[in-house]
């Protein structure tokens, strides 16, 4: 057994347990819900799973990306509905695809600082309904209408409305700073690292195949059953579809036409889902009689050029967090990387394998190395399980904990990229069995 990563003077913080709702393709069974409904389901699931007394929770932090304006602090709305004490404060964080990672590390921070002992963190994303807005011109006219005092003023404002003003504004998965959609950036990234269409399709197929295997053998124990109002009980992810290379090869590129390599089949799909974890100080967990699943150890956030290196977060974050923990890549038993696009994963693997990249762009002497595939996302990943933006982080951490228990390893590594050119990585240590 390897050494523990406990550091003198630093509180041991543990993951007691983690759950998630089934991740469903958007527009399917969850279509009529609201985001806080999904978050509530995850919170209730966590309470059921852990038997946690509601008043034992000091604080709740939730992540979300595309915000429902009515529930902008979705953490609070979900917590109230889930029956938590109205004396338990809750706040919402957002950091694109690493929002729930941010929620978890916020929880870690609150505990480490001695301000809380038990925090629930989670994330929710609901892509079946997104805020579609009136155009800026139309909004301006409507707001002015509120202020207009006379009928004449109102009529003249109404008269100023043109057909074009009625065109709605749709949210896009695009960078604000560059106006480039993420899929387009992923395609360019794959091209920059010379990742072929074949490699991407192969990786996507691997993800679906492994996910299917994990689902069939009951390894995805973090998934809770959820009775959807007006619909059946859902207890499985519905995006896992192992296809064939031939079928996948038939698809046309989705973003860069006609010569791009990123297709619908080798990208993560729009997903609805929520996740939640219970994080405690080790003493508190033991005092409450819990058997924690894992220690949450060092973590880092990184950021880089949002145009040309948008999705390279894992490449930058991995060596940094390993260094912090005094580990090398070889020490890691379990890798869980967020799969935004197969091309993005392959590009990151190539970048991590390149001394030239490490020296030229990261100011490091040598490469960190690519994770061995047999330890990498072996229960599927975002490509197959689905990727509700802000819910993925908790899934990654919980999966690492479960895999460490199942496979008997000691250290796990979570890494993810996020819009804005940001990234995150965390080292997780198995709790002694």
């Amino acid at each position: 057994i390897k050494k523990t990563l406990a550091k003198p003077g630093v509180k041991n913080i543990v993951l007691v347990d983690g759950v998630r709702t089934p991740f469903l393709q958007s527009g399917t069974i969850y279509a009529d819900l609201m985001p806080h409904d999904l978050a509530r389901a995850a919170l209730q699931g966590l309470l059921n799973r852990t038997g946690l007394p509601k008043d034992a929770v000091d604080y709740i932090v939730y992540g979300t990306v595309i915000q429902e304006v009515k529930t902008s602090n979705v953490a609070r709305e979900a917590a109230l509905g889930a029956g938590f004490s109205d004396k338990t404060p809750a706040h919402t964080v957002t950091m694109a695809c690493i929002s729930s990672n941010q929620a978890m590390t916020t929880a870690v921070g609150l505990i480490a600082a001695g301000q809380c002992d038990a925090v629930v963190a989670g994330g929710v994303e609901f892509m079946s309904d997104v805020p579609i807005r009136h155009s800026r011109r139309m909004r301006k006219t409507m707001l002015s209408l509120n202020k207009a005092k006379t009928l004449g003023a109102r009529l003249s404002l109404l008269g100023s409305i043109r057909l074009a003003h009625l065109a709605p504004e749709l949210p896009a998965v695009a960078e604000f700073s560059t106006a480039e959609t993420m899929g387009h950036s992923a395609d360019r990234l794959a091209a920059a690292f010379g990742v072929s269409r074949l490699e991407q399709d192969e990786f996507a197929l691997r993800s679906h195949t492994l996910a299917k295997k994990a689902q069939d053998s009951g390894l995805l124990s973090d998934v809770i059953s959820f009775k959807v109002p007006g619909k059946d009980i859902v207890s499985k992810d519905n995006g896992i579809r192992p296809s064939t290379m031939e079928q996948m090869a038939k698809l046309k590129p989705a973003f860069i036409k006609p010569h791009g390599t990123v297709t619908a089949a080798n990208s993560s799909f729009l997903t609805d889902g929520a996740s939640a974890v219970l994080i405690m100080s080790e003493e508190k967990a033991l005092a409450m009689g819990y058997k924690p699943k894992a220690y949450l150890r060092d973590f880092v956030y990184v950021s880089q050029d949002p145009k040309d290196q948008l999705l390279l977060g894992p490449t930058y974050a991995t060596p940094k967090v390993l260094e912090k923990s005094g580990l090398t890549l070889n020490d890691i038993d379990v890798f869980e990387f967020h799969e935004a696009f197969a091309g993005q994963i392959m590009a990151n693997l190539k970048a991590m394998e390149s001394d030239w990249f490490a020296q030229t762009y990261m100011g490091r002497k040598t490469k960190v190395g690519a994770p061995p595939m047999e330890k990498f996302n072996s229960w599927g990943g975002s490509l197959s399980l689905g990727h509700p933006f802000a819910a993925t982080g908790c899934r990654l951490v919980t999966t690492v904990a479960h895999r460490l228990q199942k496979e008997g390893g000691q250290y796990g590594l979570v890494a993810a990229c996020a819009a804005g050119g940001q990234g995150h990585a965390m080292v997780i240590e198995a709790y002694p069995q």
């Binding site: 360019r188 920059a192 145009k307 990249f357």
Partner: protein, 751 residues
């Protein structure tokens, strides 16, 4: 995977060896066969950009013949391995080396023949374009069957020949109308404008676009070219296998347009409209656009044989015109004036401070922040500062509307700007440019204040249009760090920067000022110190003459049409309004004091009366003309005419014909320019021409005052001046250098 990689490098090795043994002599064009696709790569090892030089053409012809003769090759990719340049155009030296129109026509015909073979190639050729694809380069590309371009900022397509007084002489006037339709083709060929990739795709000039790539396992530039090649190779295969159709199904609009264009009288109407527009814009002073219309017309109305013949013959004729020689001279001059002949400065200017947030100050700040220079903009009042910062914001925001920058880039540029009222942070400035009011005592006060707060290495540059720099530097503790930087208004549009050195200015200070100007995107002339330096000194006598002409009863509109008719882009009366009547009066008085009666002519009192009435030109809404916001039409300011009435002069009929008036204006300008060279204010005639054309709008078709003397004849000019001298005296006395040139016709300013 490692196995595949090894195989890949092995195949690369073998092809390289194959090339080496087969074609040891080739230096510009090479090729590699990838399966059934021949990838032809161009790279001129001796130049920054690729041109269609004799060598390039010879090697290209050889390579093409080999590729055509190789039965294993089904299709071809044409690509440049030089970053940022596909082919930037024909080799100008090749044209300039010709002494007769017939020789140039022959060059054109050779080009036409080569591209005809390309066009008729039985194996489809894909032009893979990254970087400049201009002139002959564009003609090469449009002769190919398919075009793929990168979205790089450096990728531009265009036919700039017209700007050199030439026409696209290798099939451009014939292929473009068929490819793009008459209106787009005329726009492209007659304006010479550069077309960016997305626009080119929309117009149908290229078939496919390829994104630029960021960091990967190679440098972004290298990998982008490689990626372009991969995509092009795939497209070439698709074309050879007929999976990609060569002709695109035309849209409804295109079909309608084609149908309309099939009527001869519609085409005739377009020719007429375009011809009229060209005449209006060029006053008939530029032969190239008219010849271009002729060639397009010949091709469409009389068929390709007549069209190509017209193109090659007109190309030959144009190359021999003084207009083309003048424009090519300006092109070379501009290239020269974009280099720093003073070397690399010891310390790069990273932090700049601009004093005065007026039109000039804010303009200088704008062209600095968008080049990544941290700039402090200081004013004395909050209102002034706010106006200045708004000007910078608007200047950049207008660029986002034209989509030349994104709103994000705008914001990040603006983050380089700090607006303030105090001298905070000046202790970290590398250079201070003052753009305060043109008054020696104010400039002295500012200089002393600034020198008290800046670090020892900091340069003090003064933006003045007439005050001698040595007078300003007189109160400096470190005159070697003081230099003049004369910007032209509006700073973000005008290309020229006149840098003025005193005999105390150090070489490093000059090098640094030039480096900053180049970074700001300016064309730079470096001149000696003296009243009015070079540009203002040339302009002053011409404006003095213009005032006299007005006093003689010539209407401002007439005066404008006489000057624009000579080739000035802006008429003299309008120019006075633009410069500002108050500034003109100020300068006329200052320079009058310095140079005496030679700078006389019009009555300065007239200008002063105008200023007293508040007629300061465009900025005050009234000058020679009345300016109303939003209104393009301008009426003559009748109140100004009333003032003129009291300064009325009787014209001397012997020297008051339209042509006389034109030469009275121009000869004073030119004589003063030559005198500046004679006195050493100017370092050389090239900078004199560039300064006059880019700063003052001297007719580009004449190439600048010095080229004008060369082509018009110094003797003829002296003869004209003597005639005016008889009436007006020393204002028209030719300077010694001009007389020397008049005496000896072999003496030329330009070789």
């Amino acid at each position: 995977m490692a196995g595949v990689r090894a195989l890949g490098s092995l195949s690369r090795l073998t092809t390289r060896r194959y090339n080496l043994t087969m074609f040891p002599a080739r230096t510009h064009v090479n090729y590699e066969i990838k399966g059934d696709v021949a990838v032809i790569r161009m790279n001129d090892p001796s130049a920054r950009v690729n041109t269609l030089s004799v060598q390039m053409q010879r090697e290209m012809t050889e390579v093409m013949d080999e590729v055509w003769g190789n039965s294993a090759v089904q299709s071809v990719v044409l690509i440049s391995s030089k970053p940022g340049s596909f082919i930037a155009g024909a080799d100008l030296n090749m044209i300039q080396a010709c002494t007769t129109a017939e020789e140039v026509t022959l060059l054109s015909q050779e080009g036409q023949k080569m591209f005809e073979k390309i066009e008729k190639s039985p194996k489809p050729i894909v032009a893979a374009i990254n970087g400049s694809c201009l002139g002959g380069g564009l003609e090469f590309a449009i002769a190919c069957q398919y075009r793929i371009a990168t979205k790089s900022k450096k990728t531009v397509l265009g036919c700039p020949e017209v700007m050199l007084g030439l026409l696209p002489g290798a099939g451009g006037t014939q292929r473009l109308p068929k490819m793009l339709g008459l209106p787009s083709a005329f726009d492209m060929v007659l304006t010479g404008r550069s077309i960016r990739p997305d626009k080119a795709k929309k117009m149908g000039l290229v078939h496919q676009l390829v994104d630029t790539l960021g960091p990967g396992l190679k440098s972004p530039e290298e990998r982008t070219i490689e990626y372009l090649e991969e995509v092009a190779v795939e497209a070439a295969r698709g074309l050879a296998k007929k999976q990609i159709p060569l002709t695109k199904e035309k849209g409804l609009m295109q079909k309608i347009q084609d149908h309309v264009m099939s009527y001869p009288f519609v085409r005739q109407q377009i020719y007429n409209t375009v011809q009229k527009k060209v005449m209006k814009q060029t006053k008939g002073l530029y032969p190239a656009p008219l010849k271009i219309i002729e060639c397009v017309k010949a091709g469409l109305e009389q068929g390709p044989t007549a069209g190509y013949l017209a193109e090659s013959q007109n190309f030959g004729k144009l190359a021999m015109t003084p207009e083309s020689k003048a424009l090519i001279g300006l092109y070379h001059g501009q290239v020269t004036c974009k280099k720093n002949r003073f070397g690399t400065p010891e310390k790069e200017v990273k932090a700049l401070a601009v004093l005065g947030a007026g039109l000039m100050g804010a303009g200088i700040a704008q062209v600095s922040v968008d080049k990544g220079i941290h700039t402090i903009l200081k004013d004395t009042t909050l209102e002034g500062l706010s106006r200045g910062e708004q000007q910078v914001y608007k200047g950049l925001n207008d660029k986002t509307k034209k989509k030349s920058i994104t709103t994000f880039e705008r914001d990040s540029f603006l983050s380089n700007l700090t607006g303030q009222l105090d001298y905070n942070g000046f202790n970290k400035a590398d250079m201070v440019i003052e753009a305060v009011f043109e008054d020696l005592s104010i400039k002295h006060k500012v200089l002393k204040e600034v020198e008290a707060v800046i670090p020892p290495h900091c340069i003090f540059a003064t933006n003045t249009s007439a005050l001698p720099i040595k007078d300003i530097a007189a109160v400096s503790k470190r005159p070697e760090k003081v230099i003049g930087m004369h910007y032209f208004s509006p700073v973000d549009k005008m290309q020229l920067l006149e840098i003025i050195t005193t005999d105390k200015t150090s070489k490093d200070t000059t090098a640094s000022a030039v480096a900053v100007g180049l970074k700001q995107g300016k064309v730079i002339i470096v001149v000696g110190d003296g009243p009015g330096f070079y540009t203002t000194r040339c302009l002053a006598p011409m404006l003095a003459e213009a005032v006299r002409v007005l006093q003689e009863g010539v209407d401002p509109k007439k005066l404008d049409s006489l000057t624009t008719g000579f080739g000035f882009p802006v008429g003299a009366a309008t120019l006075a309004d633009e410069v500002g009547i108050d500034v003109a009066a100020h300068v006329a008085e200052d320079l009058g004091k310095a140079f005496g009666s030679r700078f006389g002519g019009g009555n300065i009192e007239f200008l002063k009366s105008m200023v007293d009435k508040g007629f300061k030109g465009r900025k005050s809404g009234k000058g020679c003309y009345i300016y109303q916001p939003g209104l393009k039409r301008r009426d003559v300011n009748t109140e100004a005419l009333e003032i003129l009435e009291s300064y009325k002069l009787t014209p001397n009929a012997a020297i008051s014909s339209d042509s006389d008036i034109q030469y009275r204006l121009v000869s004073r300008f030119v004589n003063e320019a030559v005198l500046c060279l004679q006195e050493g204010i100017l370092a050389n005639p090239v900078e004199g021409d560039i300064g006059a054309v880019f700063g003052l709008g001297f007719p580009p078709c004449l190439g600048g005052p010095f080229r004008f003397v060369d082509s018009f004849g110094a003797d003829k000019l002296v003869e004209k001046m003597r005639k005016f001298e008889e009436v007006f005296g020393n204002q028209f006395t030719p300077c010694q250098l001009l007389l020397d040139h008049a005496k000896d016709p072999s003496k030329k300013f330009h070789k």
